[in-house]
């Protein structure tokens, strides 16, 4: 770990029980501002549980979350969101009937408060959406397009735009490229790099080594609910990371299942 930098978000000794099952055992985790972290692990390794704890959906049974150097307790996703921790869902979670700009500000509409209602300032909202998409270098025909008219990659871009619309500090992405056509994957990965340039910490769960080695700075592996390995990309290689997923160290090209002998 860098000695000059306090991690932006940190988890110390996190354990999570579901009844008799231990989903996470004494897991340590950290991510720095402007860093893209790839999280790998086999199905059931605890990746999603850890992400759900970081985003406030689950509370850890033991252990502590530390955000910007202070211990925090995220009792719900809303609390985590208010701290600047956003989640991008694998199925995008967008309302297809609503236009792009309405999806981006859904639940956080700009406008004038009147009793319990907000009178939405649509012109301002469109402007904000356009400016935000420009900042992220996301190109759409018009912010008025309904989301159902967009391609998978464009939808993922809108989902990421929504997650970052209010100065998100940490963006958690669950398999951001799994539902995309191959030609759209590059655009989403470039978007992750753009987020990093803006100082956002990106946590990406992925099974695709290509994605991790293209967009991430560091990769951490979970195995059977515990920390297994953690290295910067410069210190490791694809075969070794594939080995970590399967719970083996010193995995070499000779062992790779797709190697033709």
């Amino acid at each position: 770990m860098s000695v000059t930098q306090t991690p932006l978000l940190e988890a110390k000794g996190v354990t999570k029980y579901f009844g008799a099952i231990t989903a996470l055992r004494n897991v340590n985790f950290h991510v720095n501002a402007g860093e893209a972290l790839g999280v790998v692990g086999d199905n059931g390794a605890g990746k999603s549980t850890l992400m759900k704890i970081l985003s406030g959906l689950y509370q850890p049974s033991e252990g502590q979350l530390i955000f910007e150097g202070r211990p925090v307790h995220f009792s719900s996703p809303r609390v985590a969101r208010n701290s600047g921790i956003e989640m991008v869902y694998q199925d995008f979670a967008l309302a297809g009937n609503l236009p792009i700009y309405e999806n981006i500000y859904l639940g956080r509409e700009p406008g004038t408060k009147l009793g319990g209602l907000t009178i939405i300032d649509k012109a301002k909202e469109r402007e904000m959406a356009q400016a935000h998409l420009d900042k992220l270098k996301i190109h759409v025909k018009s912010v008025d397009q309904p989301v159902e008219e967009l391609s998978g990659g464009q939808r993922q871009a809108v989902a990421i735009a929504r997650a970052t619309a209010f100065d998100a500090k940490v963006v958690i992405m669950d398999e951001p490229t799994a539902a995309l056509a191959i030609k759209e994957v590059g655009k989403v990965l470039d978007l992750i790099k753009t987020l990093k340039e803006h100082g956002v910490a990106v946590i990406m769960i992925s099974h695709r080594m290509d994605d991790i080695f293209y967009a991430c700075d560091r990769v951490m592996a979970l195995f059977h609910g515990a920390n297994f390995a953690d290295a910067t990309l410069a210190e490791t290689n694809r075969n070794e990371v594939i080995g970590w997923i399967m719970g083996t160290r010193d995995h070499t090209a000779q062992l790779a299942h797709d190697r033709v002998h």
Binding site: P77, D91, L117
Partner: protein, 331 residues
């Protein structure tokens, strides 16, 4: 041509319905040139369709969320009986005016809270229950019609304006009905609520993708309670209009009207799958059903044919929605 044509899809969604109304009016004018466009017939059409328009506006809000409210006819019945009984008991008219909307809103709250708190599988179940409960209560309160209401209570449903700035423009019974103004005010207010406020947008988002609404921090259950309360409120207003027009409260008021309201909303282009539709479309849907009835009556065609035609129009309208969705979806 149909597949992947968003421009055609948007045209059908926005203007198709207006074209249908104009074509119907042209046909009616062609068959009955002397009667159809007479001021008396037009004001009659408006007066008759004001209360179904109220029911349809409320139903529309529910259908946007991909829900349904089967109870509005019975809620209308309960509201009209309550306000008629109160009127006869000598309750002052300003309070009687409030009774319809209050009873309606209360019934709507019961629907919304019941559906969300009991976690019933579909609002069909909850509102099918209240359809029966409200009708039963109505008959318990009074099994006979109650007529002869105070003039102030009748005003909303009965008044037609014939004079403007001292000039007599219409001869009674022709005129601009007060109920038309009330429908217009309600429609504009509802449009503003749905299209300019955050809760209106949340209602559309719930119809589009409830999961997206939930992860965006929207309290979906809370919004649904408001939605059913709004629907009940409109059913109560409908009761006030019907009471005024018929000068009575009767226990069978509104029987079957929920289906007309659903039909009007669907014919008006709102999607039964939720998430889309316009206030203008709903009013057009009410007008189409009203014009159809009026036209067939004027031409002395059996009311049974009216039923058959309305049935066909419902199927065609939903088929147009299916085509529209196909045109909107990318391959």
């Amino acid at each position: 041509m149909i597949s992947n044509n968003p421009a055609l899809s948007r045209f059908l969604e926005s203007y198709g319905i207006i074209v249908v109304v104009l074509v119907m009016m042209a046909i009616l004018y062609a068959t009955q040139p002397a009667t159809f466009l007479s001021a008396t017939n037009l004001s009659n059409i408006i007066k008759q369709n004001a209360y179904p328009a109220m029911l349809a506006l409320g139903m529309f809000v529910v259908i946007i969320t991909a829900g349904i409210d089967l109870s509005v006819g019975s809620v209308l019945g309960l509201s009209i009986i309550c306000l008629a009984v109160a009127d006869k008991a000598g309750v002052p008219w300003p309070i009687v005016l409030l009774i319809g909307p209050l009873v309606g809103t209360a019934c709507g709250l019961v629907n919304g809270l019941g559906y969300t708190l009991l976690k019933l599988p579909h609002p069909f179940i909850m509102t099918l229950g209240t359809l029966n409960i409200a009708r039963g209560l109505t008959s318990l309160i009074s099994q006979a019609p109650i007529s002869g209401l105070q003039p102030e209570v009748r005003f909303a449903g009965q008044k037609v304006f014939t004079e403007f700035f001292g000039v007599q423009l219409f001869t009674p019974p022709a005129g601009i009905p007060f109920s038309l103004l009330l429908v217009v005010v309600c429609a504009v207010a509802l449009w503003f609520f749905l299209n300019r406020t955050n809760m209106g947008r949340h209602i559309f988002a719930i119809g589009g993708n409830p999961q997206a609404a939930r992860v965006s921090g929207i309290d979906v259950d809370r919004v649904l309670v408001y939605v059913y309360a709004i629907c009940g409120f409109f059913a109560g207003l409908a009761a006030l209009l019907l009471a005024g027009r018929t000068d009575s409260g009767f226990p069978l008021a509104g029987v079957g009207n929920e289906l007309d309201a659903i039909a009007a909303v669907i014919i008006g282009g709102a999607s039964f799958f939720g998430g889309r539709g316009t206030v203008l479309g709903v009013l057009a849907g009410v007008l189409i059903m009203g014009l159809l009835r009026n036209g067939l009556n004027l031409n002395n065609i059996s009311p049974f044919w009216q039923q058959i035609l309305i049935g066909l129009i419902i199927i065609i309208a939903v088929y147009i929605d299916v085509l529209r969705r196909r045109a909107a979806t990318r391959k």
